[in-house]
């Protein structure tokens, strides 16, 4: 399986992964045909009480959070000037860009009338809506990320002059990207501010935008750790010796950042509980679920990251990164699906066809990532531009 991924464009076509991808993507396309001919009811378990399900909760909310590596790393390298993180910057920006791109694609499946997706940008402006902010920012941020990734594309195409041009825009795109990310990551949390009676009090808080923003930084850092450890395994032949050696140091550094982020996030979550005076709710079934999220997926990884950095244990950091990513996914699903209308008699459980579409979108995302990495200078530097930033 690894063989095909390593050898790039001329790899073996029939591998286990490719076979699996073909099946999942075909199934996803079939489901989408049903969804667009018969309506959302035919392929989802959404109801008037649960208008948002897996496609929003996972594909959109988790997708955006986990794509935060792009802006986190761009800030680290371009604005803080921490050059040692340069080797993981391009893959992070690519992951971020593809993450957002596939969030939008997933959104097209979920919207009632997806062909109108550009309406908030070009046609009718609902400026009182947090969703309006999200729409604009995702649109602008996609553009920024494309700009940030353009140097790699133009190096691949050997368009020297255009590349030169785009590189000059990188810093502007990064700064705009940080602003846009801050706002729309937090805006995704702010969406739920309008549901004070529907979201469980342990998760509902005026601080929701802050929770979403801070946890997106954590998600960005841990996704870069997770993604780089995968890349270094799967695309082994592309990694230069120099960066292969530095990856452990980078992992430890990112782990330290994640530990600090989780530490802040942990206390912020408790401020949320204290603010609403909801201590009594902690001893209810939903309270135990909340404690699992905050202790098991925030406090524990925070400790493990700190421990791993002290003992310089890169493998531990990688495992902890995965744990943290799962925690972020759990948090987003809690806010949008699990703790949303927690007291309803008939709960929403995703239809199997919803899982199929989600799996298909993730698979196409991975295939696109592989396609690009096998062609463009993402994991390695282009020989013509060695050392040129």
């Amino acid at each position: 399986m690894n063989g095909s991924l390593i050898q790039g464009p001329r790899a073996r076509r029939m591998t286990l992964f490719n076979l699996f991808a073909a099946v999942v993507v075909t199934a996803g396309l079939v489901v989408l045909v049903i969804r667009f001919s018969l309506g959302l009811g035919a392929t989802t378990n959404l109801t008037d009480s649960y208008p948002w399900g897996l496609w929003i909760g996972f594909d959109v909310l988790c997708g955006v959070a986990l794509a935060a590596g792009g802006y986190t790393l761009a800030t680290t390298v371009y604005l803080f000037g921490m050059e040692e993180y340069r080797p993981v910057l391009r893959p992070a920006i690519l992951t971020g860009f593809l993450g957002y791109l596939f969030v939008v694609i997933a959104l097209l499946a979920d919207l009632g009338r997806p062909w109108r997706i550009v309406y908030p940008v070009f046609y009718s402006y609902g400026v009182t809506s947090v969703m309006f902010l999200v729409a604009w920012h995702v649109f602008l941020y996609l553009t920024c990320q494309l700009l940030e990734f353009c140097p790699a594309i133009f190096e691949w195409l050997r368009w020297r002059t255009v590349r030169q041009w785009v590189v000059r825009l990188t810093v502007a795109a990064t700064i705009a990207g940080v602003i846009l990310s801050t706002l729309h990551q937090s805006a995704l949390g702010a969406l739920f501010l309008l549901a004070p009676t529907k979201l469980h009090p342990l998760w509902y808080s005026p601080l929701l935008p802050v929770f979403f923003f801070v946890s997106s930084i954590i998600a960005g850092l841990t996704m870069v750790i997770f993604e780089s450890s995968l890349s270094h395994r799967v695309f082994r032949h592309q990694i230069e010796e120099k960066s292969a050696a530095s990856i452990d140091r980078i992992t430890l550094g990112l782990g330290k950042g994640a530990a600090i982020g989780l530490y802040c996030y942990f206390f912020l979550k408790w401020i949320g509980v204290a603010r609403g005076q909801h201590w009594d709710l902690l001893l209810t079934p939903m309270g135990f679920w909340f404690l699992l999220e905050v202790l098991g997926f925030v406090a524990l990884p925070c400790f493990l990251f700190a421990w791993g950095c002290r003992t310089r244990n890169a493998p531990l950091i990688r495992v902890t990164a995965l744990l943290t990513v799962i925690g972020i996914v759990l948090n987003r699903l809690n806010v949008s699906v699990i703790a949303f209308r927690w007291n309803e008699a008939e709960r929403y459980v995703p239809h199997w066809m919803e899982f199929v579409v989600t799996a298909a979108i993730v698979t196409v995302g991975l295939l696109t990532f592989r396609w690009i990495v096998n062609r463009m200078p993402v994991l390695h530097e282009h020989p013509d531009y060695r050392g040129a930033h």
Partner: protein
């Protein structure tokens, strides 16, 4: 220079946008808007209003075989309003209640809509414009009464909700449901006047009514007002709705947007200059140092 210009334009646009957001979010004080009062104690469950509503909106009338005690438990895209009967387990209390859009004075759904497909008219009706809707269903998340419903069974779906018979109300006429009500359980008029009437009824017959006008303050006040003889919660009208107008919940966040843009823009630009300067200093130091010295440890 280019960059600075770009950022300035961005910030100005955002500030202007947020400014407008604030303006249109200010609590609607048009208490002189039209409203309807539903007095549960006067309703006899004849469901004439249901038929009129279904006819007006071109919908099928909600199923009636089960009788009034087992009705649909919520609104749907085929049903913009319905009557339900409540009966306590010991048969001691009973009441009819009508479910429909509350027509908030400052509606959550309209503030949530990113394309202005939902809008409150000066008369007090919250109406929906299908031609703008993208089907994101955020209005359904936002509405505390779960009023907007979605056509999950259609390839080209839309939101459905009670439009307060806007074509009639805009001419000063009563909506169809009020028009056909034979007992006066449903009344139409100016909101202030109906509130006065409701207060008078409670004062006149304090034993008959719960001493609360549902909708007077819920979610910042609504144009649908309720009087009842049993607690509203038992009738399916949630008691935990905040009295704050819903747009207030996101106002703070939206107002902070221009500030965040300005702060982040200057902070990030500052960081970048700082980084550049540091690199310049390092480079200058390298040039200044003679090569021979540099090689020494």
């Amino acid at each position: 220079m280019e960059r600075r210009a770009f950022l300035t334009i961005g910030a100005t646009t955002a500030a202007a946008t947020a400014g407008r957001a604030v303006a249109s979010q200010s609590p609607t004080t048009t208490h002189r808007c039209k409203a309807m009062l539903f007095d549960c104690t006067r309703c006899i469950g004849c469901r004439a209003c249901e038929s009129a509503c279904a006819e007006q909106l071109g919908l099928t009338r909600p199923a009636s075989d089960d009788g009034l005690y087992r009705r649909p438990d919520r609104l749907s895209s085929n049903c913009a309003s319905f009557i339900r009967a409540y009966r306590s387990d010991d048969d001691e209390e009973w009441s009819f209640v009508r479910h429909q859009c509350m027509h908030c004075l400052d509606p959550a759904c309209a503030s949530a809509c990113l394309v202005n497909a939902l809008e409150r008219t000066p008369e007090g009706a919250v109406i929906y414009d299908e031609s703008k809707c993208i089907g994101c269903r955020y209005c359904m998340i936002a509405c505390p009464w779960d009023v907007p419903t979605f056509e999950y069974d259609k390839a080209v779906p839309a939101i459905r909700k009670c439009p307060f018979c806007y074509e009639h109300v805009s001419k000063g006429e009563a909506p169809r449901c009020v028009h056909v009500c034979p007992t006066g359980a449903l009344e139409f008029g100016d909101r202030e006047q109906l509130l006065g009437e409701a207060r008078a009824r409670i004062a006149r017959e304090p034993d008959r009514y719960v001493h609360h006008i549902y909708g007077e303050h819920e979610a910042g006040g609504t144009a649908a007002l309720y009087l009842a003889g049993v607690s509203f919660e038992k009738l399916g009208l949630p008691a935990n709705i905040p009295t704050r107008a819903y747009p207030e919940f996101t106002k703070g966040f939206l107002n902070s947007v221009p500030l965040v843009i300005l702060m982040w823009a200057s902070f990030c630009t500052g960081l970048y200059w700082f980084k550049q300067r540091r690199e310049e200093v390092v480079t200058a130091a390298h040039i200044a140092t003679p090569e021979g010295e540099e090689r020494q440890p």
